[in-house]
Symmetry: C2
Subunit: 524 residues, 2 copies
């Protein structure tokens, strides 16, 4: 079964497996003990630390093994903030950091700290100037004027991922590191996505990573704190791992992590080039093979192995289930695949479509044939999911044999094609009529109401697409929805379908007792 979710957990590298098995037998004892077994464990742990230090170009005592990438991030963020307490309490992060960074930031804010979140471009990349302004603590509106806020001064800590975990976009870490150094602000780089895949730029103060992302075992992460970086552990005291990661170090896991890091880095350049080609193939082929698809993330400045796209009128969970049936393991940032039923914060920050979202992340060694088979299977899978949802017809017409033009230009008037009546669509249970006073159609001021209250992504967008073709150009439609995903997907749909998104207002303005109204004007 082709496993295309390496960005979640990469399969164990053969070198990691071998090292793990050996270290289970040789490195199980307490490395603080004086007897033979303890000394042997200590030697293995020291060697693992040495290997990691060499791979990262740092000192051994700067490397701490943590119990996970998440623990590394939590400890790194909160420890660096604690160490910089006298420099203030303002933390700067990008909006697309991993949730572990954002959750640590929440903890910081709950404890009285402040947070500046730097927005990203549609590609998922932060603008260097925006990040620099946040780090330096310059006024929010450099243009000046009455709205200008007082400059808060340099941040206590800045966090920027090396590359994004959901869309693969590389961040301008090298430039940001230079800016941080000039401003005297330590920079924490979450390198979970790129370590072992791509070179990590220099100039950071703290770096975190997770072994299972590069083919190491689970249960081990890295926290590197450069000399001169103020750091106060946020945990109860513990002398292990330089006082930065309490608890007994999992030596077999550390040994396996170090051995596999060395191995994957030795192969990284060649394997990265190969995977980059496979990803390019997907990036080019998917929009040709599947109508109404948005490939997201920076097409050039990206890690080699990740590609992400979203399919209009598609339920992400159904898509994953169908792909699993076809023996492909991928992940999704769609709301229906999250426990909180909200779309991925990364897709939200980028402002791109979240419905029918698929992240393909290739493990080292992925066979080209598997990628080709994925491209063969995908169009039919998407078509079936769309059919089951009663999606607009034009979207369900796929032409895998004869690729269409780019989707945005392909069929600008497509939304006005004849559509099946609502009765034909095997859609989820309709919303309660009691809560839908405007269901019948048109507001007194001429706004056409599309009532999707109680329905989940992608139904609100499907209903919008169905209805817009039935109204005259220039008509405003109000999509009523209480699904979080609609806030992202209605504007994204407008962008893809060249319709005008007018904004959001409380659904109460259209007689509903809950939810929001998303206003769209038909342009074509």
């Amino acid at each position: 079964m082709p496993y295309f979710d390496a960005a979640s957990t990469a399969p164990l590298h053969p070198v990691a497996r071998q090292a793990l098995l050996a270290a289970i037998d040789e490195g199980w004892a307490d490395p603080a003990r004086l007897y033979r077994e303890g000394r042997r464990a200590r030697m293995l742990l020291d060697a693992a630390r040495e290997t990691v230090a060499e791979e990262l170009g740092v000192r051994r005592d700067e490397v701490s093994f943590t119990s996970s990438g998440t623990q590394a991030v939590h400890t790194g963020v909160l420890g660096a903030l604690a160490g910089r307490r006298r420099a203030g309490r303002r933390l700067v992060v990008s909006a697309v950091e991993h949730s572990s960074v954002l959750h640590a930031a929440d903890t910081h804010v709950a404890a009285g700290g402040t947070l500046t979140t730097v927005a990203v471009e549609r590609s998922g990349r932060v603008a260097v100037e925006a990040f620099a302004a946040a780090v330096r603590g310059e006024a929010d509106r450099p243009g000046g004027g009455e709205g200008e806020r007082e400059a808060p001064g340099p941040a206590a800590l800045a966090c920027l991922q090396s590359a994004n975990h959901e869309v693969g976009t590389e961040q301008p870490v090298g430039e940001v590191a230079g800016i941080c150094r000039e401003a005297g602000v330590p920079l924490l780089v979450d390198a979970a996505v790129s370590l072992g895949r791509a070179p990590v730029p220099d100039g950071w103060s703290l770096l975190t990573a997770s072994a299972r992302k590069w083919g190491g075992p689970s249960g081990i992460g890295l926290l590197v704190v450069r000399k001169g970086t103020r750091f106060v552990s946020p945990h109860p005291a513990d002398e292990r791992e330089g006082g930065r990661a309490p608890g007994f170090t999992d030596i077999p896991a550390a040994v396996a992590a170090a051995a596999s890091l060395r191995a994957v880095r030795a192969e990284a350049e060649r394997e990265g080039a190969r995977l980059r080609e496979l990803v390019d193939r997907i990036r080019t082929a998917v929009p040709r093979l599947v109508p109404q698809v948005e490939v997201v993330g920076d097409p050039v400045r990206r890690v080699p192995h990740i590609v992400t796209f979203s399919c209009l009128y598609v339920d992400g969970e159904a898509l994953l289930t169908e792909l699993d049936r076809a023996h492909f393991a991928v992940s999704s940032g769609s709301s229906c695949t999250s426990s909180t039923l909200t779309p991925s914060h990364v897709l939200r920050a980028m402002g791109v479509l979240s419905e029918g979202n698929v992240r393909v992340s290739l493990p080292a060694g992925t066979a080209e044939a598997d990628v080709e088979r994925f491209l063969q299977v995908l169009p039919d899978v998407v078509r079936r999911v769309r059919e089951n949802l009663g999606a607009p017809v034009e979207a369900a017409v796929t032409a895998p044999a004869a690729p269409a033009a780019a989707p945005a230009a392909a069929d600008p008037a497509g939304v006005s094609s004849p559509i099946p009546g609502p009765a034909e669509a095997p859609a989820p249970a309709p919303s309660s009529p009691a809560s839908s006073p405007a269901a019948a159609g048109v507001d007194p001021d001429g706004v056409v109401v599309v009532d999707s209250l109680g329905r989940r992504c992608p139904i609100p967008v499907i209903e919008l697409a169905r209805r817009i073709g039935t109204v005259p150009v220039g008509t405003v439609l109000a999509v009523l929805s209480d699904d979080e995903a609609a806030r992202l997907d209605v504007p994204a749909w407008c962008e893809m379908r060249r319709q005008e998104y007018l904004g959001e207002e409380p659904a109460g303005a259209h007689g509903a007792d809950r939810g929001s109204a998303y206003l769209v004007r038909r342009l074509s």
Copy 2:
């Protein structure tokens, strides 16, 4: 090589090894994913949780896998305190809890909380009444009177280990749990020492444990929080492990931990009885075979596999090194074996000798022949270490073939035997003469000064033992020392040698520029 340090890390149980290998191949993916590999990982994790829950007699959702026993304790203590914030901020612990509990308590105090530490008896056991008074928050002096302090009211949380990790003494957890329940105070039981070895009493609110103590792998601990226990995670948010242990769960380790817990519990009763006999053999034989030894810990209320003793006039590190040369792996609570050069807080709280301390903790399956060989080897090893240190002669005369009487009664006048001159002892570097104005001998008020400044355990006690035989009965000696261990070992020596310990005063009273003076009166 006989490995007698199971209380530090038990060798991996064969069942754990097998389960680990299988789960590395089957349970490496993210259990939150919808595809096949994810579902398989989820099934393994669910099954591991189910097994642990069954073994502990709790609900599955009460069990969280943590990355270590230490993380379980830190999270349990701080999370329970956070959850009980409205009930106050007073934490009650025994003085002999594992350092992870005490470090979490330090963190609590640093954050403004208060701490009541309950002393233990010489056996290492807390008195139920004393613990009860601390839990209830009764006045410090129940007799009343002018010195009576205001009663602080019930604690927010109480922590009591199931058994002590250094001396094996079982704590009265069952009785304390009843008292806590009555007082409405949650009880956290650190069961690291006993889980898998002895039944865990019921009635606690939180329980912590560490898999590597029972033969599971490293990198995995248990935190069990019973329903109805208020708990607020002290960590940044994370939905895994019931929100109590952030970071990706190490599923292979959890699977191996659960499988081995079941296996060791199935064997526990029979194997425990066998180990108990072996430990009894050590408890009885060591004082007969080695002069000047104190076996510490409760002789009856103890876990089956741990026995601890301290040898007068012995350097713990040298003893461990000699035993390692003789192929025995044991640990020690002596100051010279700790990175901080302070004796174990457990031995200090018990008020027992810390020098020449040895903890023997037998893994399951320990061969009787190995224990017998240990008893054969030990007397010679101790003798050699004492000789090297220039210890008083009587202490170096061992009689393994003809056991002496109990040490306290064996040779009450032994300290007055002829002793070798200081010049004959290959002791560590002498203290600086500049700091030892009283080195010459007798204070103006007739106190005999024994200057051990700058010398480490066990030298101060050896010098005391040498000198006391040269002064008339009734004479007071002042042992000047800046070694932390002397504070414990001089009184313990007096108790063992039936001399009178008069107390401690600043060494400045005897003309020294640092350290303490420990006053001893020769009684016999």
